[in-house]
Amino acid sequence: MDLNYSTTELAFQSEVQEFLADNLPNHIVSVVRAGDGLTKDMMDEWHSILKKKGWLAATWPKKFGGPGWTPVQKHIFEEEYCQAYAPRVVPFGVNMLGPVLHKFGTKEQQDTILPRILSGEDWWCQGYSEPGAGSDLASLKTQAERSGEYYIINGQKTWTTLGQYANKIFCLVRTSKEGKLQQGISFILVDLDTPGIEMRPIRLIEGGHEVNEVFFTDVRVPIANLVGEENKGWTIAKYLLSHERTGIAGVGFSMQALAEVKTIAATIKRGSKRLIDDPLFAARLAEVEIDLEAMKITNLRMLFRAQEQGSPGPETSILKIKGTVINQELRDLARRALGPLAAPFPGHFGESNILFGPPDTAFNAARYFNNRKASIFGGSNEIQRNILTKTMLEL
């Protein structure tokens, strides 16, 4: 039992720290700190800095142009990354489609698509959920019918994150109505410029635009765009979900949130007393801090197991459930700590530069509302409990 990093891991940690100190642009950090939305240009700028260093595709093996890190190295990278308030890498191309192509793609798909993900030429988004297929993803209806050398796609996808910036989408589509629902699904790559595709914004609860719905009307897609075999898309979808789970505990983001709550609570006054000295508030904060300290170790334990056994196990669902709940608790505390200062709708301050609370806290109510998504997306926390029931409890 040794909770400390080895000397090589410590050396790697300093290398990451140095890189971030030297290369992470201040104007990007300040936007991340404030919890404001990053522009596409900022995301592209940061991606190209990471790309230059060879650290954009942190989860990729060496032979595909990744750094070939161990799970512990990936964890250290993530930890330092959050500590420095670096923006999240947009995951759809790098962390989702990339690993799928490594495992299921043809040589040609790997050779043509992977470099364009790394170079930023292609911006991918995800076409999974549909209005009638959320948690019950296998009931998806978007149809792809064979017609000569093409599939003709008709249907609707939704919750497509950052689709407004994308030029490509990977989709789960129905290619057969025979047998079990899961057996008629295929994984296909679609160019968003193809005629018949329409992308419409969905405005979220806090007012932001990050997700979209995508409509497909007689969209012709070459058969060569199929990944893996026809009707075997469900296997790919499941594989992708397991990859999506690296870093799912969001420990780094929760540590950011904890630091933020502490700063607010140490600054904000209730009469002559600092909020952090109010026993009721302090008790809630201490309890979440304890949960987060435990989560850090739970995360490391599962990481260690992944490293020993080669792949993360089903218990990563524990990380999803607990990690999102802790983060939501912290966002709730940050919002409440600000009291009436949290009430203004960001963006409605006009020309005034008046400050509401300590710096970088104006978006706290918005972040609280936005972050309610965390326990719903990526397999809702209820679905995670179903997964654990089957795999860990064997009920």
């Binding site: 039992m1 040794d2 909770l3 400390n4 990093y5 080895s6 891991e9 512990v72 502490k262 140490a266 952090i276 026993p279 302090a282 008790a283 904060l285 201490a286 309890e287 801090e289 304890i290 949960d291 300290e293 435990a294 989560m295 850090k296 170790i297 739970t298 490391l300 334990r301 260690f304 197991r305 218990e315 524990i318 459930i321 607990k322 209820e382 409990r385 179903n386 654990l388 029931t389 860990m392 409890l393 064997e394 009920l395």
Partner: protein, 354 residues
């Protein structure tokens, strides 16, 4: 980073677990836990011979362990078997005798019992509340409450005030008034009353030694709870698979499945924070992480105990069933060395320090 046990600790864990599985089964435990002397003296001696107690002490003091991880391994196994042996007072006594540079041979051989007398009726958890008082010639007055293992102790290690100092004294059991009793969750304790009782001064200004003993004891209790939660959880899952109502196993009902998953989640979190607290024991942050662990254990142990009873529906309300006894201990552990709120207060007091 390595979450595997070292070879030595794995052996220690296997030895103790095997011994308890063979010689300390739940029926036997329940047959001794609720009547005087509220433990099994012959098993106690066997455990001493196996070297279990020496694993709690470092080499310089005649043992071969003494680190947080050693304590965790031993107490998790004891918790697994729902042991009611006075291992906690033994552990705390080793820390205090070590600090006082006293010989621990009799303690580790299992031939002498020490009990640690800190808590008082009006000072249950916080050292600064202690009112027991020592005179200039080391005579003690006051009442110590729920002294675990006090019913069989040969010596008491007593925290008492002398002027501004909180000192540690040793008292012969025969010199004090001892009111022995059994505990609701099994095992024995005593009220210990001092009335100008002669004592030996072991440590002057014992605050930091007492804190260390309490931190070590807290890590031990948390580890014991993790062991007990594992068993309680497993029995409950098995029951969900076997028990049929409405023509199907009750484990097929999602309302119970999700609650069982929540038990698992909290147990894993508790295991994590206990590992952390054990690894920090003896260091500058020992008290902070011990408090974090004990607070979380207070919450999770109650959840696991109450949900286990609820999901069994009736059967775990009976004396006959093992879960009832695990549940009692899981609940009552919150009354030892600081409850959920006490430890939350301590963490609250350190919010600014990080």
């Amino acid at each position: 980073m390595d979450f595997n046990l070292t070879e030595d600790r794995q052996m220690l864990s296997n030895t103790l677990t095997r011994y308890l599985a063979e010689r300390y089964q739940i029926e036997h435990r329940n047959s001794i836990a609720y009547k005087a002397p509220f433990h099994d003296p012959s098993k106690w001696k066997e455990m001493a011979k196996l070297g279990i107690f020496s694993a709690l002490v470092n080499e310089a003091d005649g043992g071969f362990g003494g680190a947080g991880a050693d304590i965790a391994v031993v107490f998790e196994a004891l918790g697994h078997a729902l042991s009611c042996e006075p291992a906690l007072p033994l552990l705390m006594a080793t820390r205090l005798l070590n600090a006082a540079r006293q010989n621990q041979a009799a303690l580790l051989e299992g031939t002498a019992h020490y009990a640690v007398a800190i808590a008082e009726p009006d000072a249950p958890y916080d050292l600064s509340d202690i009112t027991a008082i020592a005179s200039d010639d080391h005579c003690l007055s006051g009442r110590k409450t729920s002294v675990y293992g006090g019913n069989i102790a040969d010596y008491f290690l007593v925290a008492a005030r002398a002027g501004d100092h909180l000192n540690l004294y040793q008292v012969h059991a025969t010199d004090a008034e001892v009111v022995p009793y059994g505990l609701i969750d099994g095992g024995g304790a005593a009220e210990v009353l001092f009335d100008n009782t002669k004592a030996k001064l072991l440590i002057e200004n014992a605050q930091s030694s007492l804190k260390d003993a309490l931190d070590a004891g807290t890590v031990a209790l948390c580890s014991e709870a993790v062991g007990m939660m594992d068993v309680t959880y497993q029995i409950t899952i098995d029951y969900l698979k076997q028990r049929k109502q409405f023509g199907r196993p009750i484990g097929s009902f999602q309302v119970l499945q999700h609650r069982a998953v929540d038990m698992l989640t909290e147990i894993e979190q508790s295991r994590s924070i206990t590992i952390k607290a054990a690894s920090e024991l003896g260091g500058p942050n020992a008290s902070r992480y011990a408090s974090m662990a004990k607070n979380m254990i207070g919450r999770s142990a109650r959840l696991v105990a109450e949900e286990a009873i609820q999901m069994h529906g009736g059967i775990a309300m009976t004396w006959e069933y093992a879960v009832s006894h695990y549940a009692k201990r899981l609940i009552m552990i919150d009354h030892q060395l600081g409850d959920t709120d006490f430890h939350l207060h301590r963490v609250m007091g350190m919010l600014n320090s990080t």
